[in-house]
């Protein structure tokens, strides 16, 4: 019995995951994914006017348009001379599974898939890393501030982070760019890596990319750290007054154990859900930060797409963003259930 008990803490959550609960959750996300894809199909068709004709007009300005390319545009955006809606939908889905989103107009004649994947990793690495760093630092500092509310650290850190929180982040980006790149010239002003560095898995490229990432990453970390800090500070300050934390002290446990098993362990739960949401938002890019530093990520691409009325690129970006949000939320949901037993559904 005892041996069973010690072995079970691992298998319990797994058991909760397996079976119908997991299946239900997967089904939910599949439906949500289908809804996102379908909305992406419907939106250009609901737009006033005829986006397909507009796109084709632009394409003819940029170069000759073959009949196949014309067909792709009609498949993605409908248009006057395309077939019934249902047939359009079926061929749209078919094209989707082949990864065919047509040609970008802003980067004519590069396929949308290539354009999106060129920006994808820049954004994921930059914004993803910055989000993780700011979450970790903000949460740790918030826990320290909330552990002894009203003490010196709290009375400096909390008002300061509210101040930083209210500063627009593109303004911080401009200040950083002006001081560190323009005035002092310590770090590169713009771009993802040096122009004459060949992209690849080489030390030179990675070094250059890191150097270029410091300022945009610092912008994101500086401006988002305060949100995590305030959140964790308030949660910690209220959790340490809970009876179970008092009981943990009464049990004569070591401070480290009281923090890790009782106080911070409970206080961090809402931050974890917030973190899952922001990780999902990573692919959306940090639009203004990427613009200020001319960073070759998805945010810059989205900006280009909007400026050039590049509907195919917009459609591709929206689809990638919404599907990534869904995938990340699915993962976060599954992990959260392991962390908070109260959210486990009974199968």
């Amino acid at each position: 019995m005892a041996a069973q008990a010690t072995a079970l803490p691992l298998s319990g959550p797994l058991r909760a995951l397996a079976g119908s609960v997991l299946v239900k959750r997967i089904a939910f996300y599949l439906v949500a994914g289908w809804a996102a894809i379908t909305l992406n199909f419907l939106l250009p068709r609901l737009m006033p006017g005829d986006p397909a004709s507009a796109i084709l007009l632009k394409m003819t300005e940029l170069g000759p348009v073959s009949p196949q390319r014309e067909a792709v545009v009609h498949r993605l955006f409908g248009g006057a001379n395309s077939g019934p809606l249902w047939d359009q939908y079926v061929s749209y889905l078919g094209g989707l599974f082949r990864g065919d989103f047509g040609l970008s107009i802003a980067f004519y004649p590069t396929p949308v898939t290539d354009v999106v994947s060129s920006g994808f990793w820049w954004t994921v690495v930059l914004v993803g890393t910055a989000t993780v760093i700011s979450f970790v630092i903000g949460t740790v500092l918030g826990a320290i501030a909330g552990w002894r509310p009203g003490r010196r650290f709290d009375s400096i850190a909390s008002p300061l982070s509210i101040f930083v929180h209210s500063v627009p982040y593109f303004w911080i980006a401009l200040i950083l760019a002006f001081v560190f790149a323009f005035q002092w010239g310590w770090l590169p002003l713009a771009g993802g890596a040096g122009r004459n560095v060949e992209p690849g898995f080489t030390a030179e490229f990675i070094g250059s990319a890191l150097e270029h990432a410091i300022l945009p990453a610092a912008t994101i970390v500086l401006t988002s750290i305060s949100g995590w800090l305030i959140h964790m500070r308030n949660m910690t300050a209220s959790v340490i007054n809970e009876d179970y934390v008092l009981l943990a002290w009464a049990k004569g446990l070591h401070t480290a154990r009281v923090v890790s098993g009782y106080a911070a362990r409970n206080a961090i739960l809402p931050s974890i859900s917030g973190f899952a949401v922001s990780i999902g938002m990573v692919v959306g890019g940090s639009l203004l930060t990427e613009l200020v530093f001319n960073y070759p990520g998805l945010g810059s691409l989205l900006n280009q797409a909007i400026l050039n009325l590049d509907y195919p690129l917009m459609q591709g970006l929206f689809l990638v963003i919404s599907l990534t949000v869904l995938v990340i939320n699915f993962i976060a949901d599954s992990i959260y259930v392991l962390l908070d037993p109260r959210t486990r559904e009974v199968s």
């Binding site: 803490p9 009981l247 009464a250 049990k251 004569g252 037993p341």
Partner: protein, 337 residues
Amino acid sequence: MKDSPVLLDVAGLTVEYGSGPGAVRAVDDVSFRLRRGEILGVAGESGSGKSTLMTALTRLQRPPARIAGGAVTYHPGSSDPGIDLLAASPARLRELRWDSLAVVFQSAMAALNPVMRLGAQFVDVIRAHRQVGRKEAWARAEELLELVGIPANRVRSYPHELSGGMRQRATIALALACEPEIIVMDEPTTAVDVVMQRQIVRRLMRLRQQFGFAIVFVTHDLSLLVELADRIMVMYAGRIVELGTAADLYHDPRHPYSQGLRDSFPPLHGPLRELRGIPGSPPDLRALPPGCAFQPRCPKRQPECTTTRPELPPAAEHGAACLLQQPADLPGSKAVR
């Protein structure tokens, strides 16, 4: 019980909220002795300082509460000089907690960690105080749960999966984990229904027989204490107003406040009495009335009650802090204002 050795000696314990001239004295110069294996009941209305007293005994008070004076001496062995809990180092205190002095809180839902399995909350405290393996500790947790009538397989449940009564019994089982000599209980039966309350009390009595721990039982329910406790201490406005055996308190309450408390509950056994409430409301601790704190509500108030603060007769078996209980010529000499 009267002759068993003193286990906990509380002398002049004073707890204040805040400091300086604005401080509120929630526990004022409280002294009592807890004997080995004894159940000492602490009764009083909300705001009487009974919960503050309980947290101060275990040094669990949280800011702005602070212990302003007094001593709490724990005597592990009869010949031992005793350990002052209020002066003990954090490390010493950590060793003593739960090992000698365990706590049961009022709200069992809030007292159990929602993200830990029930068993794990036993295991961490057992392993913090005893050199046992993980397996053994889990087995011990199962044993303890069965002791309070919870099936052993519930050891793997989370607190939210248990009923209210189960959770309350689980916190009592938890208190027994290291076989402490003293268990301080703060209204452990308030959150459960009357049937469960009886069950818990009966089980508590049986466990006390089995393990011989002493209990400080804090509640507003005097009739429950009359059944359960060996001695009862009645608190009002942070002070002890009466101390005596349960039978004394029930049959012969000497302080008008204790009389009021007794008469405001229906007796569990015996003929029905007319129920009476205590008029008025608990005093504002920031502005206590002059003289006896109870005098504005007291049906037997005398003129000198508003000028003289009555003291609890020291070392009496049954005594009340009331001028009516003291020789007529004494009060004048003790005027405080």
